[in-house]
Symmetry: C2
Subunit: 380 residues, 2 copies
């Protein structure tokens, strides 16, 4: 690609349950914050992408209509949990191809009004219809992982505790409370061994980013953050195969991102990863190369992935604590990465952060673990 | 853009009511036909785009899973009636940016199982909730157009008759019967002055295309068709403004397409245009520059837009006769354009066709006429 894309502005709503608001108003809040952050006028945006998993037709048009921002190309993309990241990738490619100069990327979902995440949609989805909804899939992963890695439920609980340690410092997080290992273990069992506090909440929210060329970024006041890689892959289907303890899909996607950016996992200062359930963080530590295969529990135990550690994971609080309005998550991760790389993350700042990784994966389709995975690398 | 995209294979299902089939099987039929037509193996496809307006999550993944084609980047896009064309545009940009070499583009919807086109979805859509569903919008356009242009309901009927004259020669068309002006006028009134036979049917179907680079196209046996422009725009919202007789959105989108391709309306040998209702064809004749402003009825009367005329419009039968499974339509138009430009359209062949235009518009969002519009130019 000839033209490098840069993020010059980000903004998001606090995540949480906002059933009383329209999704238009939720999306508009994120859009206006991102534009203000970038110092970009509405009329300067020449293309818009909207990532949303659940919210129906012409979502981007609906959100920006009352901002007077229609008239430009608007493209709505969907890739389940990777919807926001997929929108970012299309935006970056539009810039790389010279098709657009200043692109608004929006991620949005409103689960309280428009449906939850694990309800089977179509009769041909045999797995969820037979009970393999997402908590069940991750519970099976957890059982297998704990067994193979010699880890315990306490490791899972400590992932949730760590998420809240960070998230309580994040004004955008759905939860702002501290929790203890005992509380996590004692919370209601959802799918053994996953208790309620080991599962991300449902909620609502939107996040937006302004992406532009290097030349345009230089004209704007803000420190530009380079998007060094936007990798997207889908899962491989084989009868009888499940992507359980070693996530082939995340490993493959990360490899593409690292190679295309010329950056290795050793260079990553912080990562926002897809901890939809506590077990996911341990699995993806390994799959993203943040530790060696089998080293997930030890990496967690070392404290390196806490704020202040050498390889901070989910300083935002992650999906477990910041929340997971499906289509918004990928862009919320980019918001956190940008704030961290600019040194604007306040009490949860990762000191000296230069390279951030963001990771989404999801879209369970019968036998496909999972439908789509995105890994982005952002560089200060 | 540096790399030009070429269509090297197309395929589609017949359109119609296929409630007894799964949408996966409908999509797979189109995919396999397009790959066979291109002479491309499944494993050679390095990226997939799926355009669908109504069919829910991870549609592309669901369709290609059992073909063993997952593992590559899959991106689902939605833009109401322009969903298929939007998918094509993203595919062409991925090629132009050097991100992909051989891209499969699928358009699919199954209205008999997954919902119709005009039912209001969200409570904030005031217009459809108050009765401004699509047939009503087009009926108002028709009333105004007939009044301003001095045309009659018979002109509308003749658009439908012309659509069936062509569509009855198209093995993929939902209807294969001839109809008369009298029959059209006597059919049930849907929204005055639009009778049933002046409205496109609901139905199911899929269409697919293989897009690649010029270098790769040369290696394949098929005559490559160059995608000279893929323009996408959204409507402008102003209180009290309706895009009625002169479609500002289609005019603006067409202007971008013509200018970027260096092709004018006078060069167009055939056009596949969005005749969701009979009035639309007359409105878009003018908006696409196929005649001067006000010249729609005269162009129809001249016979130039029939098969055998100098400026054939909708040789496939268009939405009125071939059918309109929403997300599939944009790619079905590309199928027809490719067959015509290759000289493979049989009894409905436009002789000597060198330049084809395809046009989609739709996605009525309260006050927005319309949410998205796409104009593509394809050159033999």
């Amino acid at each position: 690609m000839t033209v490098q894309p840069f993020v010059v502005g980000v903004g998001m709503t606090p995540f949480g349950r906002m059933r009383e608001r329209s999704f238009e108003s939720i999306g508009q809040e994120a859009v206006l914050k991102a534009l203000k952050d970038a110092g970009v006028e509405r009329a300067q945006v020449d293309e818009i992408f909207c990532g949303s998993a659940l919210t129906g037709r012409s979502m981007g048009q609906r959100v920006v209509r009352d901002l007077g921002m229609t008239g430009v190309p608007i493209t709505n993309v969907e890739n389940a949990c990777s919807s926001g990241s997929t929108a970012l990738r299309e935006a970056c490619t539009a810039i790389a191809a010279g098709r657009a100069q200043t692109v608004l990327v929006l991620g949005i979902d409103q689960l309280t009004r428009l449906g939850g995440g694990t309800i089977p949609q179509v009769e041909t989805d045999l797995d969820p219809n037979l009970g393999m909804v997402m908590p069940a899939v991750y519970a099976m992963r957890a059982r297998r992982y704990l067994s193979e890695r010699g880890a315990t439920s306490e490791h899972l609980a400590r992932v949730a505790v760590k998420a809240h340690e960070a998230g309580r410092l994040n004004p955008y997080a759905q939860y702002r409370n501290e929790i203890t290992v005992e509380e996590v273990l004692a919370s209601r069992m959802v799918a053994d061994p996953l208790t309620l506090l080991m599962c991300c909440p449902t909620g609502d929210g939107a996040a937006a980013a302004v992406v532009t060329t290097q030349a345009r970024a230089r004209e704007l006041g803000r420190q530009p953050i380079r998007v060094a890689a936007t990798a997207l892959q889908s899962g491989v289907y084989k009868t009888g195969y499940r992507d359980m303890v070693q996530s082939e899909l995340t490993m493959r996607t990360a490899k593409i991102a690292y190679e295309s950016a010329g950056i290795g996992p050793e260079d990553v200062d912080l990562a926002e990863i897809h901890d939809a359930f506590a077990i996911a963080e341990l699995v993806y530590y390994e799959a993203l190369g943040l530790c060696e295969s089998g080293g997930g529990p030890a990496l967690l135990d070392s404290g390196a992935t806490r704020i202040g550690g050498s390889k901070c994971v989910n300083p935002s609080g992650g999906l477990l604590c910041r929340g997971h309005p499906v289509g918004a998550t990928g862009i919320a991760q980019v918001c956190e990465a940008v704030w961290q790389l600019r040194g604007e993350a306040g009490a949860r700042q990762v000191r000296g952060a230069r390279v951030a990784l963001t990771h989404c994966t999801g879209g369970g389709v019968a036998g496909l673990d999972h439908g789509s995975c995105a890994v982005n690398l952002l560089v200060a």
